[in-house]
Symmetry: C2
Subunit: 686 residues, 2 copies
């Protein structure tokens, strides 16, 4: 290779060659029509978004919730003694998280349960800010308000609200959500704890029938909880038999510690689940019950009730409908995880991008070192991640709004939509964020390994987001099952939910998109057209859905439905991911089109192009296998991704600033430039 | 979908259909010729390797080192007070690691420095076992023996060995390796610490000229080190000028703490780098020097010396050759990381696979739950990982042998080969292991989040393997640069190093492989033929290499070589990964062919098929873009991967047992089945 930079003459020669190349290739070969724009210079691309104003973008993103988040940040900035130190033991972290929560509620005037019930969108925004302070704190509060509080207000009736809501809000009644058992995680319907009704005393008797039925990983149980919503099989005395009738899983309020002296109540056994990979500010425990008696009123009876004489009644016709309704009311936690995971991704991208903009390493011979964000490899690690942060934010924001709508209307179609959407988004976003946290740490090299820079704690704490509130692999199967149900209904003429509407259009039209002209088009104009992008995403989903349905039908005959499903499992998971990506892209396109500020809209459009094309490139095998894109088009897509990374890099400073996370919360990036040694020193506490 | 399992009649019908299908598709459509083997039953596949004996496999893997590893495990089993607890503070962990190291050396009779110098393969096997106990311990020992000790014996001369070797071995002289600076990580050649020769006093004066030149992340510095090998620019007084002459980076032994009272010596400033993401048993510190004087003899003078009068001499002709020779001697650390990373992967796969074999969740309606390892999704997560553990082991084992050969012969061709191979394998293996640790945690669900199950600590500790001893992105570029150099030499008729030999063959012949017959062949026989697999891997590398060379030539003219390289960076990184995968596959094929025991050989062949085909499937886009495989062949490859996962699952118990890691070291899997509650309880310390 020759050394040195291009002289003016060499540049001219190169332009001539490019001009010829452009003529040769026509306008459909991955280059824009003019040779200059075919190879944009650094200056041209960095100027392109120079008018982008952070405030405009931030206003479009955070809207009215900006002030709510800032209030949380300010609270902790004003209470340095409440900030979580970089190293903290399990015991201290648990006590600190409890103290932080009490301070927010008792001094800060925060009313999380009221927010949850009256303004879910604001609730999730406040929790996003709390999670940025410390994820242990937001999960601890999620246990108290969303899980324990949410189960009482959503599964109970007015009498439960009257009795518990205020005490939950003020933390007089700290509580747990005791669903998972040692042997029953994903398979919640298989829980074995029993609640047997005793007519004589009008009480339920709670029992743990075997070790596998021990309630496990129960947050708030090891230290602070005084109550627990316990999920147990309701057993009713049967007139016909001496064996009690199993009415399926119901939820009961069970006091576990004394309100007076906090001692564990008789018949209850509580164990500490011990040190965890992360979230050690949350006190997870194990619960066992031996003939623990609770009054009849402690059944959370919205979907099923037991009269004093043991008669069962329910507004819903079957055990499976009741179980579905019960789980449906708990979907808020999953919505919160999807939303919270985006917040983690935003924080991590902010840290990594700020650091990469100032960290320098290597450079052209005899010249100063360049910022590591100017390396193509670093751009390809971080710029699609930044685009995904925005993409996920708009999708999660839509989910939150749909959830709020669902809580207002109780419309059945919206309930079904929120269920599938929350499952898919939670699984997809948390998986992406988890991977990104590792990418960020590595991208920041040795300094990324300093605990003060937060990647370690964020990764450890966030890690379980992939598992709790529904294991991701299980949730994606629910999405696939839902798609197949919709597919079946389509063919029998039933109505399709809004989110899946495109599939109907798609299944009818996608064959027309594989004509030779379309598969070869590679101009920037075409590739950056949302119609092409959406069609490509949807084509993929429609193909996967169609072939999955055929394969399942084929295998079911021979293997039975369970094994047929298992036999097609990877296919089904790919289908679900593909569908969710389609939904995310659609929401991103809708969102930037709504943006009034032209500069912000143009920036968002660019990010959206990067999101779409990078995903297509990452999955290029599936598009090529169907010959949806020709090899030349695949190459043009790859080149567009590189150019878009370069373009986004030019405005990445503004894009992360628009997330509005104060540097003091991120603690990073530190120790970067001469003169910041002192700053690093003070961070480390020298 | 129909429910229920296949009746005998339905099975017959299915077989008939399959028979027709097989006839229709011929023998080239991804199925073996008989309809039964086309859809192997669980029984047939699990029987296939039922004769596999763990001892035979283990003997082939560990060979004579089995006993050395077992000695380490036994030492810690006999010293429970030396085992690292699940939760431990930074301060305690640092002291414990030091105590563990001293016990191994002083009570256990381990002689790491002697091993390193006389039997590197044994050294790496012993360190693998130590890393399984606690990665902090093996890294702490690596700092003492491989880095500090290694720099003295490899960069110094006999006088240094005489003076320091025994004291290093016995830990009388604990030391550091002070290369990295706050602003100079990957760019080692840019370090700014100075060592100015003072002729009058025959001393070097060590200085830190600015804050960015602070030695940073120096292991053993914060607490225990008494010496440091300091990398600094040698400055010699010039006869011609009043400015000292910069002779480039050299290594010097600098005492940092008193041998008597361990106090920090005058002019030396030591700071604690603080809490890290992981490896908190290693005490990393920052070092600054202000006019610290050391005797002339403290220059490690194997590659460059200064006479009393200030005259410089060297057996090597240039500063860059000296620098290369210096770094070349330090390649042992990188070899150790590649080897150690495989060990982490083996441990993590063992934990996840053992757990997944006993953990049950869901099942066919009305039937018992099934093991989660029987889900296709879980198999696709864990079985290729198991295959990769074996693949990487054989490659790393080859690397260790080449390294030992290099230390014996000092043959220049081997030096170059070991340099590129260690860079590529370290980068590739550590990246794969890091991702796998997250996959394992998630695959084990909530129980994977219990700290006692080790995924958290393994991931946190291993994480920096991606960065230290060479940032992975930088190392891959070295591999790419080496390939391009070889490519250039090929065209000018120069000799090719053994490892790259295949490229020469490949470049000449690969066009013949893209004929329509070859691109459509999809029989199991063909896909499981190592010739097809190796050709596919090499074809990909050769294509990437050829196109990279063309692109670099094109862009260099206009952009200069630095920016041209940056412009092609992602292409170059893909090239390097592709090459390394080819090397790994070649070593795997060679290794199983060497295995004498027919059952073990057959098992290894199956694993190798899975390794090869899963990698091709993961990169199917690049093969499809070149039309190296037709869509039907791509589909057949995917199906083979699923079948191979299923086949490997049947013998996965034996395959992980053959790694020979005692359960007591893994601490997991625990809390799985009824009756193991007690075991879990005792692990958690109830």
């Amino acid at each position: 290779m020759e050394s040195g930079r291009a002289s003016a003459g060499a540049m001219e020669a190169a332009l001539n060659r490019l001009q010829k190349l452009a003529l040769h290739l026509g306008s459909e070969a991955g280059f824009e029509s003019s040779p200059l724009s075919a190879e944009p210079t650094a200056a041209r691309l960095s100027e392109k978004h120079s008018q982008l104003r952070v405030e405009k973008l931030q206003a479009f993103l955070a809207g009215s919730y900006k002030v709510d988040k800032e209030r949380i940040y300010a609270f902790f900035q004003n209470h340095p003694e409440l900030q979580t130190p970089v190293e903290i033991s399990k015991v201290e972290h648990r006590e600190l998280a409890y103290k932080q929560m009490k301070a927010l509620v008792q001094e800060g005037g925060l009313k999380p349960l009221t927010l949850l019930m009256t303004d879910p969108a604001k609730y999730y925004n406040v929790f996003e800010a709390i999670g940025t302070v410390d994820l242990s704190l937001s999960i601890k509060m999620g246990v108290q308000y969303s899980l324990w509080g949410g189960s009482v207000v959503n599964l109970g009736t007015q009498k439960h609200k009257d009795k518990y809501a205020v005490a939950i809000e003020t933390l007089e009644a700290p509580g747990c959500f005791a669903m998972t058992e040692l042997h029953h995680g994903s398979n919640v319907q298989g829980v074995q704890t029993t609640a047997t009704y005793d007519i004589a005393r009008q009480e339920f008797v709670i029992n743990t029938p075997n070790e596998g039925a021990t309630k496990w990983w129960i947050g708030n149980a090891a230290c602070h909880g005084k109550f627990a919503t316990v999920f147990a099989r309701l057993k009713l005395p049967s007139a016909k038999s001496h064996i009690d009738e199993d009415m399926g899983v119901h939820a009961f309020i069970v006091p576990i510690r004394s309100l007076e002296d906090h001692k564990v109540l008789p018949g209850v056994e509580i164990r500490d689940c011990g040190y965890k990979v992360g979230l050690n500010g949350v006190d997870n425990g194990a619960l066992r019950f031996r003939n623990v008696r609770i009054p009849r009123e402690n059944l959370l009876n919205r979907f099923g009730d037991v009269a004093p004489d043991g008669t069962y009644s329910s507004p819903l016709p079957s055990a499976s409908k009741r179980f579905a309704a019960t789980l449906g009311e708990l979907v808020g936690g999953r919505v919160g995880l999807a939303y919270g995971s985006v917040a983690v991704l935003k924080a991590a991208s902010t840290i990594a991008i700020r650091y990469s903009s100032v960290r320098q390493q290597f450079g052209p011979p005899g010249e100063p070192e360049i910022a590591i964000l100017d390396y193509q490899s670093q751009q390809l690690k971080l710029m699609p991640m930044l685009a995904s942060s925005y993409a996920f934010y708009f999708a999660a924001d839509y989910l939150v709004k749909r959830y709020a709508e669902m809580k207002m209307t109780h419309d059945e179609a919206i309930v079904a939509d929120v269920h599938a959407l929350s499952a898919g988004l939670k699984a997809h976003i948390t998986a992406y964020t988890a991977k990104s946290l590792s990418v960020c740490r590595e991208a920041c090299g040795g300094h990324g390994y300093a605990a003060v820079n937060r990647f370690g704690a964020l990764r450890n704490d966030h890690d379980i987001f992939l598992t709790f509130e529904g294991d991701n692999t299980v949730l994606l199967q629910q999405v696939a099952a839902d798609l197949l149900k919709q597919y079946k209904e389509k063919f029998s003429g039933g109505a399709l939910a809004v989110t899946w509407l495109y599939l109907r259009q798609q299944m009818a039209t996608y064959t027309s998109q594989t004509n030779p002209v379309a598969t070869h088009r590679g101009s920037a104009e075409h590739l950056r057209d949302p119609t092409f992008q959406l069609n490509a995403f949807r084509y993929r989903t429609a193909t996967l859905l169609h072939t999955a349905a055929l394969r399942l039908r084929k295998h079911s005959a021979r293997l039975g439905s369970f094994q047929a499903w298992n036999r097609c499992l990877n296919h089904l998971l790919t289908l679900a991911e593909s569908h969710i990506e389609s939904v995310i892209l659609a929401k991103f396109v809708e969102s930037y089109k709504r943006c009034q500020d032209p500069e912000a809209r143009s920036a968002l459009k660019t990010l959206c192009d990067l999101y779409a094309l990078e995903r297509i490139w990452k999955n290029i095998g599936s598009f090529r296998n169907e010959d949806y894109v020709a090899p030349s088009k695949a190459k043009a897509i790859q080149r567009q991704v590189e150019l878009l990374c370069y373009e986004v890099r030019g405005m990445s400073g503004q894009l992360v600033d628009a997330f509005g996370i104060p540097d003091s919360m991120l603690r990073a990036p530190i120790g970067l430039k001469t003169g910041q040694y002192a700053e690093y020193s003070s961070m480390i506490g020298w």
